[in-house]
C-alpha cells in the first residue's frame, strides 16, 4: 500500500454569480466540481490543464485559501476540513507550504532576504532570532545561494535566484508537502532546468511531496510521478506519469499531448496525426451536460452528450472518465 500523505475527496468549489440591486444569486461558477486525488509521501503529483480548468482553485483549497463548498481533505489520515482554526495553525499550515509562479512578486520588496526566509518561522514558531538566523543560513546553502547575500533585498537578485529563495522560504518550516504553482514558467528558458533539478534534488533529500500546478506537459513529465489531467473543474484522467504519457486514454489528454509534442515539419505525416481541437473550453458557469468535453470531442457519440461518464480503472495506477471505455 502506498504511503499517502494527502488526499482530496470530492472537492467542490462553486462561486455564486450575483446580479442586480439585491445581489440575487443567478448562477454558480463551478470552478472545481468533484475532484479527487492522492499525493504520496515523497512523490510529485501534477495537476495539468488549461486556464479555467480549476487546477489553481484546487491548489488554493489545499493551501486553505479557499473555503470548499463540499468535500474533504485528508491529511495523514484525518479530515482537516473538520479541524478548528487553532488545530490548522499548528498541525497543518506549517506542514503544507507553497512556491509561487512569479518570483518577482512573491517577495515583499521591503524585506531583506533573511527576513523573507525567516517570516514563516517568525509567524509560526517561538524560536529565537539566533535560531532563525541559523536556519536561514542552512536553507541558503541548500538552495545554492551564497550566505553573504543574507542582508540583500529581493530586487538585487535575478529571477532564477529569487525562485531559489522562494524555495528556501517554503522549506523553512520543514513541511511535508510543497505546492508548486507553475514553478518555472515565469523564468527564462535557460534557467528553468536549474530550478527543476534543484526541486528534484531537494525532494529526494527531504522526502518531500510536491503538488505541481502546470500547463506545460513536458515540464510535468520531467517533474512528476503521477499526473491528473483537468478539464472544466474535473479530473478526466489520472495516471502514473510514464503510463499516462505512453498510453493516454482520454481524447482530451491525447489532444493536449499532441499539442505539446515536439513535431518537426517533416515528421508530421509519419507520426500520429496531430489532433487539433475545435472551439474553446466552455464557461464553468454553464458547463455542458453529460461529458463536459463532448462539445470539443471528435469522437463524441450520443451518450456523451447525455450521461456523465463513470470512472474506469485501467491497470493499477491509471483511470479515465470517458464513455469510450464503457
Amino acid at each position: 500500500m502506498a504511503d499517502i500523505l494527502l488526499e482530496g475527496r470530492d472537492l467542490v468549489k462553486h462561486y455564486p454569480v450575483t446580479k442586480g440591486l439585491l445581489q440575487r444569486i443567478v448562477g454558480w461558477v463551478r470552478a472545481v466540481d468533484g475532484v479527487s486525488f492522492t499525493i504520496e509521501r515523497g512523490k510529485t503529483m501534477s495537476l495539468v490543464g488549461e486556464s479555467g480548468a480549476g487546477k489553481t482553485t484546487t491548489a488554493r483549497a489545499v493551501l486553505l485559501q479557499e473555503t470548499l463548498t463540499s468535500g474533504s481533505i485528508i491529511f495523514e489520515g484525518t479530515d482537516i476540513t473538520k479541524w478548528s482554526m487553532a488545530q490548522l495553525k499548528t498541525g497543518y499550515r506549517p506542514r503544507v507550504q507553497a512556491v509561487q509562479q512569479n518570483p518577482w512578486s512573491s517577495m515583499n520588496p521591503r524585506m531583506r532576504i533573511r527576513d523573507v526566509i525567516a517570516e514563516p518561522l517568525v509567524v509560526n514558531t517561538k524560536q529565537t532570532k539566533q535560531q532563525n538566523r541559523e536556519r536561514v543560513l542552512e536553507l541558503l546553502d541548500q538552495v545554492g545561494i551564497a550566505r553573504e547575500n543574507i542582508n540583500r533585498y529581493p530586487h538585487e537578485f535575478s529571477g532564477g535566484q529569487r525562485q531559489r529563495i522562494a524555495v528556501a522560504r517554503a522549506l523553512a518550516l520543514k513541511p511535508s508537502l510543497v505546492v508548486l504553482d507553475e514553478p518555472v514558467s515565469a523564468l527564462d528558458v535557460s534557467i528553468r532546468a536549474q530550478i527543476m533539478n534543484l526541486l528534484k534534488d531537494l525532494q529526494v533529500k527531504h522526502n518531500l511531496s510536491y503538488l505541481v500546478i502546470a500547463h506545460n506537459l513536458a515540464t510535468v513529465r520531467y517533474m512528476s510521478h503521477a499526473v491528473a489531467i483537468m478539464y472544466l473543474g474535473q479530473i478526466v484522467e489520472y495516471g502514473e506519469t510514464e503510463e499516462l504519457f505512453k498510453n493516454p486514454l482520454h481524447p482530451y489528454t491525447k489532444a493536449l499531448i499532441s499539442a505539446s509534442m515536439l513535431t518537426l515539419p517533416e515528421d508530421e505525416d509519419q507520426e500520429l496525426k496531430q489532433i487539433i481541437l475545435t472551439g474553446e473550453m466552455p464557461s464553468p458557469l454553464n458547463p455542458p451536460l453529460g461529458c463536459r468535453f463532448h462539445t470539443r470531442c471528435s469522437e463524441a457519440g450520443n451518450t456523451c452528450a447525455e450521461e456523465v461518464p463513470e470512472l474506469h480503472t485501467v491497470g493499477t495506477q491509471h483511470w479515465v472518465k470517458c464513455h469510450h471505455y464503457d
Binding site: 493551501l63 486553505l64 485559501q65 495553525k89 499550515r93 506549517p94 507550504q97 507553497a98 509561487q100 509562479q101 512569479n102 512578486s105 512573491s106 517577495m107 515583499n108 520588496p109 521591503r110 517570516e119 514563516p120 509567524v123 509560526n124 522560504r169 518550516l173
Partner: protein
C-alpha cells in the same frame, strides 16, 4: 516602452551616472526655499524689522524700495495701516507652515488607516468607505470651510478642521488603490499561506509598501493645503486679523489695487514660491520613489 523592457539594463551602470543629489536643481532649489520658510516661521521675531501688527498711520501705503517714493526703511512697502509688508510676509510663514504641517499629519494618518482597512478588508465596509471618500472628494473644500466658519467662528482650529474634514479623502483613495494592488500581490498571498494574521499582513507587508506613495502624495498636498488656507484667509474665513497671514494680506490690497499694487503682490508671490517648491519637491520625490504615480 515595451521594447526597452525587452532587454536588461543592470542597475549598477545606471546608478553610476546620475548626478549627486546636491547638484540637481529640481531638488536643491525647492529645498532651499522651503528651508527658508521654516527659518522665517521659527525665527520671525528676530528676522522681521518691524512688529507685524502695530499700526503706524504716518507710514501708510508706502511703496517698495525700487518704486518711486519708496525707501529701504520699508523694503517691500507698507499697507493701509502703515504695517511693514516684509515683516508681515515673514510672520505669515508661521501660519502657512503650522496649518499645512498639522493638516497633513491629520489627513495622512486618517487617510492611510481608512485606505488600508478599506482595501484589505473589502466587502461592505469597503463600498461604504469608498462612497464616503468619493463624496468627500467631490465636495468643494472652500464651501465646507465657509460653513464651518459660520458655525465655529473663524480661528486657527476652524481652518485646520475645515481643511482636514475633506482632506483625508485623496489619501484614502490612493492608499486603498495601492492596498488592493498589494492584496493581490503574490507575497501577500504567500503571507496568508504561511498563516500570518491580517493585522500583521496590514502592518508588516502592506504598510511599508504604501509608505512611498504616501510620502509622495503628502509632499504634493503641501502646496494644496497652503493654497486652501490662503484662500480661506483671503475670504475672511481663516485666521482672524490682525495676525499676519498671506491670504489675508492679499485681500487687504484688493480695494486699493489701483493705487497700491504691492500690498497684494508680495504675499501672493510668497504663496506661489512656497507652493511651487512643494510641488517641485513632490515631483522630484515621486520620480525617485515611485514613478508609477505620474498621474497624481
Amino acid at each position: 516602452m515595451a521594447a526597452i523592457r525587452d532587454f536588461t539594463i543592470d542597475n549598477k551602470s545606471l546608478r553610476k551616472k546620475s548626478r549627486p543629489v546636491i547638484l540637481q536643481p529640481n531638488f536643491i532649489i525647492p529645498v532651499v526655499i522651503l528651508t527658508l520658510l521654516v527659518i522665517c516661521a521659527i525665527f520671525a521675531p528676530l528676522l522681521a524689522p518691524y512688529n507685524p501688527t502695530v499700526n503706524s498711520l504716518k507710514d501708510r501705503l508706502l511703496p517698495p524700495f525700487f518704486a518711486h517714493g519708496g525707501s529701504t526703511a520699508h523694503f517691500l512697502g507698507t499697507d493701509g495701516f502703515g504695517r511693514d509688508i516684509l515683516s508681515r510676509v515673514i510672520y505669515g510663514a508661521r501660519i502657512s507652515l503650522s496649518v499645512s504641517m498639522l493638516v497633513i499629519l491629520i489627513t495622512a494618518s486618517i487617510g492611510t488607516i481608512v485606505g488600508i482597512f478599506s482595501g484589505y478588508i473589502g466587502g461592505r465596509w469597503d463600498s461604504f468607505l469608498m462612497r464616503v471618500t468619493d463624496v468627500s472628494l467631490a465636495f468643494p473644500a472652500i464651501l465646507i470651510a465657509l460653513l464651518m466658519a459660520v458655525i465655529l467662528g473663524p480661528s486657527f482650529w476652524t481652518v485646520v478642521i475645515a481643511i482636514s474634514l475633506l482632506g483625508w479623502a485623496p489619501y484614502a483613495r490612493l492608499i486603498r488603490g495601492e492596498t488592493l494592488r498589494l492584496r493581490q500581490a503574490d507575497f501577500v498571498t504567500q503571507a496568508r499561506i504561511i498563516g500570518t494574521s491580517p493585522l500583521r499582513i496590514m502592518g508588516v507587508h502592506i504598510f511599508p509598501n504604501v509608505v512611498n506613495p504616501l510620502i509622495v502624495l503628502a509632499t504634493m498636498q503641501v502646496g494644496l493645503v497652503i493654497l486652501t488656507e490662503a484662500a480661506l484667509s483671503y475670504l475672511g474665513a481663516g485666521i482672524p486679523p490682525p495676525t499676519a497671514s498671506w491670504g489675508q494680506m492679499v485681500s487687504d490690497g484688493r480695494n486699493v489695487i489701483d493705487t497700491a499694487w504691492w500690498i497684494s503682490f508680495f504675499p501672493g508671490i510668497a504663496i506661489g514660491l512656497v507652493v511651487l517648491s512643494g510641488n517641485f519637491l513632490g515631483d522630484w520625490i515621486r520620480d525617485k520613489l515611485d514613478p508609477r504615480l505620474r498621474q497624481l
